[in-house]
């Protein structure tokens, strides 16, 4: 009898090799003329969230008052990362700083798109999927905006930017 995906939620796996693998995938994409690598990475993140949420979700409804804790929980439980989270209310931004991003560790001169695009898209999709099912439905949502800094690109940490909407976009 093989493992179930639910059982996998309870265990851990080492990222060292697969992290390198993502950048070899990016090179493979580039070599074959794929230009929308960022979009493809984001699609990967969304698909991960789509399946993952069937086995675990942090809470039943997400709004502005709990989104910080939800993000901290997602990063901790899925990625084993302790992140710092800041709000910029004027621009409606959420800025997540991860000093130990599981998908970025070494700088690659030949890489322009950081793999934490996958993480940002996954987190935003998680929020969307949780609220889609919430009763009463919450209109709060996140948009993965940009990877402001990444260790892959030579920065000291990874900074993922999200824009939040309190009404459906």
């Amino acid at each position: 009898m093989n493992y179930t995906r639910k059982e996998l939620v309870q265990s851990e796996a080492t990222m060292n090799q697969i992290r390198n693998g993502i950048y070899h995938l990016e090179r493979f994409m580039k070599n074959n003329g794929i230009t929308e690598i960022r979009e493809r990475f984001r699609r990967m993140g969304q698909n991960i969230a789509y399946t993952y949420i069937k086995f675990w979700k942090p809470i039943d409804s997400i709004n502005k008052s709990n989104v910080k804790d939800v993000i901290a929980t997602l990063y901790k439980n899925i990625l084993n990362s302790s992140v710092s989270i800041d709000f910029d209310d004027t621009q409606r931004l959420i800025i997540v700083k991860d000093n130990d991003c599981p998908l970025c560790k070494y700088q690659y001169e030949d890489v322009q798109i950081a793999a934490c695009e996958i993480i940002a898209a996954m987190v935003a999709e998680f929020v969307f999927l949780v609220n889609k099912e919430s009763i009463p439905q919450s209109s709060f949502s996140l948009e993965a905006l940009d990877i402001k800094e990444s260790r892959t690109l030579g920065n000291k940490s990874c900074i993922q930017m999200y824009k939040y909407y309190e009404e459906r976009i």
């Binding site: 996998l8 796996a13 080492t14 090799q17 693998g21 995938l25 994409m29 069937k54 086995f55 939800v70």
Partner: protein, 491 residues
């Protein structure tokens, strides 16, 4: 399992960057799907996934090549270490009895072939049940094409061959996934074949690009030249040395005897001078001491896995965590600094003459307190490894008693402890402070007792003839009996 294999497995797990296994598996799935988006050919996608796995593992091995110098240098031994390879690649231990091993005799060849069966495959877990599991294995018609674990197989093959290369062995291993659970087969099965230089070159002569039917471009890894085999195989020889009976022999002898014995073993078994051996740890002296703490906990656990079993229970794990933290704090309270410094001096005396002067000097710069701190850090890593989540343990046990947050979310606020502390009833704080005060007062007689027994023991050891002989054995017997009782109670 040999001590070094066991140690490497633990260290690999502790020092790797891990995430949740489901995230890993889904990311792996997405990589394959993205490859297939480009190739539009399932057989090619599986092949490219394998090659990406190979590249990824080679890159990782090259970064940490020092670690692999401790691995065995013959293909047969590398395969014996398959479980360790699995942990290096996947970071996840195989469940007991999950791995089956079969040797297939190969006429006229130095090495036989090997079939490795793994009953549970995390990569294939639940595959096909979700709308996003869109890679269709039914489209694969060629029976030679590997399965979902081809990327993992590529990683395993690369790590195995990297070890052989770094150990200057001229044989190489070809690992192929033969059965895949995502293809409705009952287990994950690998076939491992060992080739010499000529055969390996022949096998590698048909490049990946030539095997791809879809016309996509793939840059292959360039195989580096193979270096001729040498007789140096540190790890195999260390395995002989690090058996528990040898360690017990060493413990029975006083310092100079131990030093002589250690020097003899290093020269005899490793064909190297002790200074050369200890040179491996030069500038990593603190890590060497941490490993002592790490090993102590794991050696305790080796006795029937009792520690690990105990820590499987969340409540026991928390209690043990608090006890450990308390022990850390109390060590310096209860053990006089002179005693600690004496043991530090003992470590220096042990290394003096065996290790390079620079290393001894580096250790001399540490204080006895530093040694204890490093040992506790190592022990903490081992305890984390065995199930204690120290990140969940509050600053003190009283905070643990408070009601958990109702929504189960992790707070994003760094200062949450401070905030909740304000609300925390003051009288509990007073009790805590009173307890600490009593503990500190109580340390005084204990300090006197420890000092007395320490210096008493020193005198006894220095004037020893035979009275102490057999004491270690008797203690071991008693511990055996205690463990037997515990086992009976658990039954």
């Amino acid at each position: 399992m040999g001590a070094v294999q066991w140690l490497l497995k633990k260290i690999t797990k502790v020092f790797g960057r891990s995430t949740n296994s489901l995230f890993y598996t889904l990311l792996y799935r997405e990589i394959l799907k993205e490859i297939n988006e480009i190739t539009e050919n399932e057989e090619d996608s599986i092949l490219i996934l394998r090659e990406i796995g190979k590249k990824a593992a080679t890159e990782s091995c090259e970064r940490h090549s020092g670690v692999f110098k401790w691995m065995p240098g013959s293909p047969k031994k590398v395969l014996d270490y398959f479980e360790l390879l699995w942990v290096v690649v996947f970071g996840k231990e195989l469940a007991e009895g999950d791995l089956d091993y079969e040797e297939i005799h190969k006429e006229g060849s130095k090495y036989n072939d090997y079939i490795i069966k793994i009953k549970t495959c995390p990569i294939c877990a639940g595959y096909g049940l979700d709308d996003k599991d869109t890679f269709d294995f039914q489209k694969i018609k060629n029976v030679e094409t590997e399965g979902f674990a081809s990327g993992l197989t590529g990683m395993l093959e690369s790590v195995a061959n990297f070890i052989l290369k770094i150990k200057k062995n001229d044989y190489r291993i070809n690992i192929v996934e033969q059965k895949c659970m995502a293809k409705d087969e009952h287990c994950l099965q690998f076939v491992c074949k060992i080739y010499d230089t000529v055969e390996w070159k022949e096998l590698s002569s048909i490049g990946v690009q030539d095997r791809l039917k879809s016309g996509v471009k793939f840059e292959e890894i360039e195989e580096e030249e193979i270096i001729q085999e040498t007789k140096l195989d540190i790890i195999d020889k260390l395995q002989e040395v690090l058996s528990l009976d040898k360690i017990e022999d060493l413990l029975d002898q006083p310092l100079e005897g131990v030093k002589e014995k250690v020097a003899e073993i290093i020269q005899d078994k490793l064909n190297m001078e002790p200074a050369h051996f200890f040179d491996y740890f030069r500038n990593y002296e603190d890590d060497m001491i941490r490993i002592m703490g790490f090993l102590t906990i794991h050696l305790l656990n080796e006795y029937g896995g009792f520690v690990e079993k105990l820590l499987n229970n969340e409540t026991f794990a928390k209690i043990a965590g608090y006890f450990f933290n308390q022990l850390k704090e109390f060590t310096f309270l209860f053990i006089p600094i002179d005693v600690i410094n004496d043991y530090h001096q003992l470590l220096i005396s042990f290394l003096d003459g065996l290790a390079p002067i620079e290393m001894v000097e580096n250790i001399r710069k540490f204080s006895g307190k530093d040694d204890i701190k490093f040992i506790f850090e190592g022990a903490q890593m081992a305890l984390e490894n065995l199930g204690i989540d120290f990140s969940e343990i509050k600053e003190n046990i009283w905070e643990e008693l408070r009601k958990e947050r109702e929504n189960g979310l992790i707070s994003s606020e760094q200062s949450m402890i401070d905030k909740t502390e304000e609300k925390f009833p003051k009288f509990i704080k007073i009790i805590q402070e009173l307890l600490m005060l009593f503990s500190e007062i109580l340390t005084l007689p204990v300090r006197v007792l420890i000092s007395e027994s320490h210096y008493g023991l020193k005198t006894a050891v220095n004037s020893i003839v035979s009275e102490e002989e057999g004491l270690f054995g008797r203690i071991k017997d008693r511990v055996d009996i205690i463990f037997d009782y515990i086992q009976e109670i658990r039954r």
